[in-house]
């Protein structure tokens, strides 16, 4: 256990992971001040938490550590623990319901869990392909993708992927699909070995 903790403390790029979580908290505080804008701020919180997860697999010395005796599988599996930080931040923020915004709790936990899982899988997959810092590209793209549905829902009559109040079944199905996709990507990425 101590070796795992030592590795996590030294190996994970905590600054961007915690920094993104900090920005998520700031967005949640904005939601306390402007609860009427939760339709944008709640996705912004999600975007920051998901972006935080994208940094969990950043490792500048990847070509070196990938061939150490511990093995790439051990390294990737242990880095999953870093993802608990943005997940916890998301869980707490949804539980607190900043600004008394009526976020449906189990469903919004699902939204965050699904997004973080998919991003984690993508980052782990990139790490498997020996990309040293997938978070640099993945985080901003994920942040943008998380907020993009807000603009789309304003222009199309498709409804929103981030419902405030009632959480319709079709939206739950979409997020369950995202969660399943994330789980599948994680399963592929966390197989022992390096490139597929």
């Amino acid at each position: 256990m101590s070796a795992r903790l030592w590795y996590l403390r030294r190996g994970v790029a905590w600054l961007p992971v915690l920094g993104s979580c900090g920005v998520a908290t700031v967005a949640a505080l904005l939601m306390v001040r402007w609860p009427g804008d939760a339709f944008l701020l709640a996705p912004a919180v999600l975007a920051c938490c998901a972006a935080s997860a994208a940094f969990a697999y950043d490792e500048d010395a990847l070509p070196v550590v990938a061939v150490t005796p511990r093995g790439a599988g051990w390294r990737r599996a242990n880095r999953l623990a870093a993802v608990l930080v943005p997940l916890s931040v998301w869980a707490v923020l949804v539980a607190l319901r900043p600004g008394d915004v009526p976020l449906a709790r189990p469903e919004w936990w699902l939204v965050g869990g699904a997004a973080v899982l998919l991003v984690t899988g993508a980052a782990a997959l990139a790490s498997r392909r020996l990309v040293p810092a997938p978070g640099s590209v993945l985080a901003p793209v994920v942040a943008l993708a998380a907020v993009a549905p807000v603009t789309l829902s304003g222009m199309f009559s498709w409804g929103t992927l981030y419902p405030i109040g009632d959480f319709p079944d079709p939206v739950r199905t979409v997020w369950l699909g995202v969660a399943l996709s994330g789980a599948a990507v994680c399963a592929v990425a966390l197989r022992p070995g390096l490139r597929p």
Binding site: V23, L40, A51, P140, A148
Partner: protein
């Protein structure tokens, strides 16, 4: 190392560096993803959001291009700028100072500008082909210069996205800076104008980097044109872009000559003047269109 073969100074050297940066942007996968998404979503809108009177809320559609192309360009430009710093010792042997390289990086805004122009042309041509309701805020109900100014906000926002990305890459060294900038840009843009859009002082929203000009979902079938002067606002956006480049060049201490400082001050004053002009001229109040019968709710 193509940069080592560049002329040591002068216009030719700068042009060669600028061409390299423009090519790097044009090939960047994040930028290309944004262009494809922007055009696909615009196409989906034309196909799926049908109305017997034509394309609805057409004057809101430049937002799609600005969002998908402009924001992905912020990310791509920031990554391009940071990528030059990875090999900073090698780059230091190349011609020019950091400020000169930054100026060359500004050329990375050319492909997004062109992509935004293509988006706008597609929008205008499709709207002409499909048609719009006669009551819609568009050519015919608005002066042409106002429509063009709002439509051209899209390419200018795409250009500004690249320049903001260069500014981000120069000043913010932490990983994830583009993600934070993109989220902050969206939140500031919305929160900076949404609360006052339907008030008497709606023209003071125009300080934000993307102003909403048009709302088309009124229950009585009307559409609202928000107050302000779109042409002056377009100038304000361009001034913001120039300020972003100058701000990025400011990172190089050797560039901060008295002449450069004066230039920064002059552009900042011009930006403020254009903002005041945009807010105090043009349409004085929000205007509602005639109701479009097919869009009256109930």
């Amino acid at each position: 190392m193509s940069s080592l073969s560049l002329p040591a100074s002068g216009i030719a050297g700068h042009r060669a560096m600028a061409v390299i940066e423009a090519r790097r942007m044009a090939r960047h996968p994040v930028f290309l993803l944004g262009v494809v998404l922007g055009l696909v979503v615009l196409g989906l809108y034309f196909v799926l959001v049908d109305d017997e009177t034509g394309v609805p809320v057409v004057l809101s559609l430049p937002l799609l291009g600005a969002f998908y192309i402009g924001l992905t360009t912020v990310i791509a430009a920031a990554l391009l700028t940071r990528s030059t710093e990875v090999a900073v010792e090698a780059v230091a042997t190349a011609p020019g100072t950091e400020a000169r390289r930054t100026l060359a990086l500004a050329a990375a805004g050319i492909p997004p500008l062109v992509a935004g122009l293509v988006f706008s042309v597609v929008l205008v041509v499709a709207a002409k082909g499909i048609g719009v309701a006669p009551q819609e805020w568009w050519f015919g109900t608005l002066p042409d210069w106002q429509v063009w100014s709002i439509v051209l906000q899209c390419p200018v926002a795409c250009l500004d996205g690249a320049l903001l990305g260069v500014l981000t890459g120069r000043w913010l060294r932490f990983r994830g800076a583009p993600a934070v900038v993109v989220v902050a840009l969206i939140v500031v843009t919305l929160l900076g104008q949404a609360p006052i859009l339907e008030t008497a002082g709606s023209e003071w929203r125009l300080w934000v980097p993307w102003a909403i000009w048009h709302m088309g979902d009124n229950p009585d079938g009307t559409q609202t044109l928000i107050a302000g002067n779109p042409a002056a606002y377009l100038g304000y956006l361009l001034a913001l872009g120039v300020l972003a480049v100058l701000g990025a060049m400011w990172h190089d201490r050797t560039a901060r000559t008295p002449r450069f400082r004066a230039l920064v001050a002059a552009v900042a004053v011009a930006a403020v003047a254009l903002f005041v002009l945009a807010a105090t001229t043009g349409n004085r109040d929000n205007r509602d269109s005639d109701p479009i019968p097919s869009r009256v709710e109930g």
